[in-house]
């Protein structure tokens, strides 16, 4: 299967990308790694008439400390995030989650900005960014603006970006050696999660908890966070994980099972983050 025809524009800076978006209007799409966009274009579920390729924009490839935050260029590929020593030291949840995306070939191409812009409710890295309370920096015709990630994912494949804007940076708090956990539940290792839970201890003393695939967008587990803030136990808090969610029912899981998984994985992620248990892995411990 192959995409419908489109025009291709290669840009090498963010300014050029913004200009190209302005020129080509709403049917133009930004192409970075292409691993969210091209698959749906091949199935002709997306039919943009212009692709603006920003993969040559070197200014978008970085992971660096910026004050009390880590700033990550939107063009950073999952593989580079996974291997980034800065990320490993300052916000280890992210490189770990990057290592769990898809398979090596996908991680070699896919970018952080791309996966955030794509806004898939089952996506790993957006879940982690949500737990971290990240900030999304977008550039557009009126310059740059910052959007809290809690306000970014609006609905199924719908974000707070406006026409003519693209993501240029993600900013997350430096969590350093604070605890974190990521529990991803799949059929096969490299599948999208049926449900995933991210938990991370944040510098302000709170615990951020987010869920993948429990609704039309990745979700913050607010009831769990509130319960923890009130001093409830991990078990008590995790029992609230499905509150406020709207999971779908599909061939992998119905609503009841997804809700169960949300509670179970949240509890496990919180325990790992608290240093109580080891992360679950598929690897056998059998005799």
């Amino acid at each position: 299967m192959i995409p419908s025809q489109f025009d291709y524009v290669r840009v090498s800076t963010v300014d050029e990308a913004v200009a190209a978006l302005a020129e080509h209007g709403e049917d133009a799409k930004i192409l970075a790694g292409g691993h969210s966009l091209l698959p749906i274009m091949k199935l002709r579920l997306a039919v943009p008439t212009v692709l603006i390729d920003i993969s040559g924009a070197q200014e978008l490839n970085y992971v660096r400390v910026d004050g009390d935050q880590v700033a990550i260029g939107a063009g950073t590929r999952h593989h580079d995030l996974e291997k980034s020593e800065v990320a490993q030291a300052e916000v280890p949840l992210l490189p770990h989650v990057a290592s769990r995306v898809g398979d090596p070939q996908v991680r070699h191409r896919g970018t952080l900005g791309g996966t955030v812009a794509h806004c898939d409710p089952a996506s790993d890295l957006p879940t982690a960014l949500l737990a971290l309370g990240a900030t999304v920096v977008v550039a557009g015709p009126n310059g740059r603006r910052e959007i809290p990630i809690t306000a970014f994912f609006l609905g199924f494949f719908e974000t707070a970006m406006e026409e003519g804007e693209l993501i240029v940076e993600l900013r997350v708090p430096r969590t350093g050696s604070a605890g974190w956990g990521y529990e991803k539940f799949t059929r096969r290792e490299n599948d999208w999660p049926i449900v995933a839970a991210a938990a991370v201890h944040l510098p302000d003393g709170s615990v951020g908890v987010a869920l993948a695939n429990m609704g039309g967008v990745v979700l913050r587990a607010e009831a769990v966070e509130a319960a923890l803030a009130e001093g409830k136990s991990i078990e008590e808090a995790a029992a609230l994980a499905a509150e406020g969610t709207s999971p779908s029912s599909d061939m992998h899981a119905d609503v009841e099972y997804r809700s169960h998984l949300a509670r179970l994985l949240t509890q496990r992620a919180l325990k790992v983050a608290a240093g109580e248990t080891e992360a679950s892995t598929a690897e056998s411990t059998a005799a």
């Binding site: 539940f185 290792e189 059998a286 005799a287």
Partner: protein, 762 residues
């Protein structure tokens, strides 16, 4: 030392690994120069009446050479079902026309020909098809009510029935009777190479067809018949084939259509389907709903067993319709059960047609009886290995008839079980399981045991015969022509070993050719694990006969008595006994006169490989997710010619069984829309879901062919599927679970635990 039984690496591989094999889509044959590309327009509705097909926009699209609908088919008759006893009302049209019914998502409605590959998808998208939907029949339960009938001219969804109901008192003498409905789900064969075909007509009025298939000769006959062509005008070639697993047995209508389109358009035509197209268009496998009933005494002796099968044939009956007869034949499996009953009823549904898939009817028999044995064991509280041991057919070396009507060649089922249990450390596994249960671990251990026997080399349209031609050339090389059709099995290597064994010609100097109907007009292809025991035996026989031909000629040449000549393997020829320096090579004889033998080997009967598997799983009882941690197998296929390749066959089979047991299932929604039509949705088993396998040796030769070989292509799947399913059930048995249908997904396991804990039976 004999080359047979040694680990010879494949002669095919250097090219495969450096240049890549040449599959149908890779062909650069000059006859295909200037070919146009065919792109089919398929129904997106499972069941309905076509009300209009508008091709006007597509016809104007860039690169379009032709657009064909049913209106353009002329007098091409629909294709009758492949089995003579089936009602012709089940025939499949080439293209479904206005006023006619589509019967599954993927049914053909139109086809476009374009200059370039990419243009085809654009143009096909512009063909507007309107379909008035009808209720979809999904699964056999819906089909058997005849509430909606797919083919009104036939008047029922029932395609065929085999066997009679069991007598009412069948289980009357049994102390314990367990009955259970189980599902052997619909799965995709999913060879990595999708279907592809090309065709070109020559100025001589003949057509050359290249396609990816498991038997060129059978496919050629079908295509000639469907198109009403003189078979002498059809030349069919199967280039390298990227896997088949049963789904590439027999021609598909698309292949013949490509030849027809080439004739109509006056241009060579190429077609390669996408994976999404493949997942609805290619034959699928299994799709049996079964009811097993088992009865016996509390001491573990099984007295009666019944298997009732409802076979989903999909939209148009294909070979899957008769596979339940193999299920019935093998119902009694490895067991000496006094009374065995089996029957099957087959139905059309609005799904993809069902054909053969690795095992083809036999895995369904094994899965059923092994599940029944486990249910019986659980009911009487006996270890499942012990129940099996109590009921095995005793060791036999002479043909033995079973109560379901099969005649087995040789078997030692208890020895296979003993070996696998020992290799697995069964007692220690049970002890570890007990410890975990006692501790209440989150990760519980499950141990699944299966024992199996299957039938290989059964008549799949070519009797129990295969032919071979062997020629030694003046340069000392040799050529083997075979009617088998390797697509990964390594016949080029193994057949060369068999010839080399007799002639002393190194395997590197022996070329094996297959899959070309002009050069090899007769052949049974590769299916049903027949190749080595029939095709390999034919090569062996050809080499033995060639020696005798050579002996006569050499005797004249050397003026010696033929009986005084002996094969001199070191020099690849014959020499005079006791006078090693005096002799003649095959090459020298071939230089004088062509040295060639054509022969046909006919086996007395099919063979019955057997074995036993132990699967170990770890199940996270909180989430229901089961992970296979070990697979230990005994697969006795008689004498092994090349252990390296035989092990490869076992590995692949085992993995596919795990796939079916844990992951894979073709699903439709209630309207018949496929839910698993890409590899993103269909959970094809991957490396991370499998352990490395532990293979245990055992070889009980068969008397049915001079090699002593039985089939090995499908055995692994037959054994591993029930072992893994059983292991999953076993891992949560202490929580009250008796059964989990395949695939044993985490949701199914979790729900089974929930229900068992609530006290309801599952």
């Amino acid at each position: 030392m004999s080359i047979l039984g040694t680990r010879v690496v494949r002669t095919e591989d250097p090219l495969f690994l450096t240049r890549g094999a040449v599959y149908t889509d890779d062909l650069t044959d000059p006859r295909l120069a200037g070919a146009v590309h065919a792109t089919f327009v398929r129904s997106t509705v499972a069941h309905g009446t076509v009300t209009s097909v508008d091709t006007s926009a597509a016809a104007e699209a860039p690169g379009v050479v032709g657009v064909y609908t049913a209106a353009e088919l002329g007098d091409l008759p629909p294709v009758a079902p492949p089995l003579p006893f089936l009602d012709a009302g089940f025939s499949r049209p080439w293209l479904v026309g206005v006023g006619e019914r589509v019967h599954f998502v993927g049914d053909l409605v139109a086809v476009v020909l374009t200059e370039e590959r990419y243009q085809g998808e654009d143009a096909a998208e512009m063909v507007v098809v309107d379909i008035d939907p009808l209720p979809a029949v999904v699964g056999t339960a819906a089909a058997k009510t005849d509430g909606t009938i797919l083919f009104p001219a036939v008047g029922t969804n029932k395609v065929a029935a085999f066997g009679e109901p069991a007598p009412e008192d069948f289980f009357a003498d049994c102390e314990v009777v367990v009955r259970r409905e189980i599902v052997n789900q619909r799965v995709a064969a999913a060879p990595l190479e999708t279907r592809a075909a090309s065709a070109a007509w020559g100025e001589d009025g003949r057509v050359t067809i290249w396609c990816t298939n498991q038997g060129a000769q059978q496919a050629k006959g079908q295509i000639a018949g469907w198109l009403g062509l003189d078979p002498a005008l059809v030349h069919l070639i199967t280039p390298d084939v990227g896997g088949g697993f049963g789904a590439k047995i027999g021609a598909d209508q698309e292949y013949a259509f490509v030849a027809w389109l080439a004739q109509q358009s006056g241009r060579p035509v190429r077609w390669t389907e996408s994976r999404s197209e493949n997942m609805t268009g290619m034959l699928q496998g299994r799709a049996q709903d079964q009811v097993v009933t088992i009865g016996g005494s509390r001491d573990g002796r099984v007295q009666a067993y019944s298997l009732e099968v409802s076979q989903d044939c999909g939209a148009y009956p294909r070979i899957g319709t008769v596979l339940p007869t193999l299920t019935m034949l093998m119902a009694a499996a490895v067991y000496d059960i006094p009374k065995v009953h089996a029957q099957a009823t087959c139905y059309v549904t609005n799904g993809t047609s069902i054909g053969a898939y690795r095992g083809a009817g036999r895995p369904e028999a094994t899965a059923a009886v092994e599940r029944a044995m486990d249910l019986f064991a659980a009911e009487i509280g006996m270890d499942p290995a012990d129940v099996r041991r109590k009921n095995f057919i005793p060791t036999f070396t002479e043909p033995t008839q079973t109560s379901s009507g099969a005649t087995y060649d040789s078997g030692d089922y208890e020895a296979a079980l003993d070996r696998v249990l020992q290799a697995a450390g069964y007692d220690e596994l049970r002890a570890e399981q007990a410890r975990r249960r006692e501790r209440g671990d989150t990760r519980q251990l499950g141990i699944g045991v299966s024992a199996y026997v299957e039938i290989t080399g059964a008549d799949s349209g070519h009797g129990t015969s295969e032919n071979a031609e062997l020629e030694v050339h003046a340069d000392g090389t040799a050529t083997v022509l075979t009617g088998t059709s390797p697509h990964g099995q390594g016949h080029a290597t193994t057949w060369a070993m068999l010839a080399s064994e007799q002639l002393g010609i190194p395997v590197e100097k022996i070329t094996v050719l297959h899959g070309d109907t002009d050069r090899i007009p007769d052949g049974g292809g590769t299916m049903g694990s027949r190749s080595l025991q029939q095709g390999g035996a034919a090569v062996h026989q050809a080499a033995v006969e060639l020696v005798e031909v050579a002996r006569k000629r050499a005797a004249e040449l050397l003026e010696a008595n033929p009986d005084d000549l002996e094969v001199d393997l070191a020099n690849a020829g014959l020499s005079v006994k006791g006078t090693p320096g005096v002799g003649v090579t095959w090459a020298q004889l071939a230089a004088d006169e062509q040295l060639i033998v054509q022969t046909t080997f006919t086996a007395n009967a099919p063979t019955f490989p057997f074995g036993a598997h132990v699967a170990v799983v770890e199940t996270d009882v909180e989430s229901g997710k089961a992970v296979v941690t070990r697979l230990v197998t005994v697969d006795d296929a008689g004498t092994i010619i090349n252990p390296l390749l035989a092990e490869g066959q076992r590995h692949g089979g085992i993995a596919q069984g795990v796939g079916q047991a844990l992951l894979e299932e073709i699903l439709y929604d209630e309207d018949g829309n496929p839910q698993t039509s890409t590899f993103a949705d269909y959970p094809f088993v991957s490396a991370t879901e499998l352990p490395s396998f532990e293979l245990v040796e055992m070889a009980t030769p068969t008397p049915m062919n001079p090699l002593g070989a039985k089939g090995i292509g499908e055995a692994g799947t037959i054994g591993s599927t029930p072992a893994v399913q059983s292991a999953v059930v076993d891992s949560v048995a202490h929580l009250g679970v008796r059964h989990v249908d395949m695939p044993a997904t985490s949701m199914r396991v979790w729900r089974a635990i929930q229900e068992a804990q609530k006290g309801s039976t599952n």
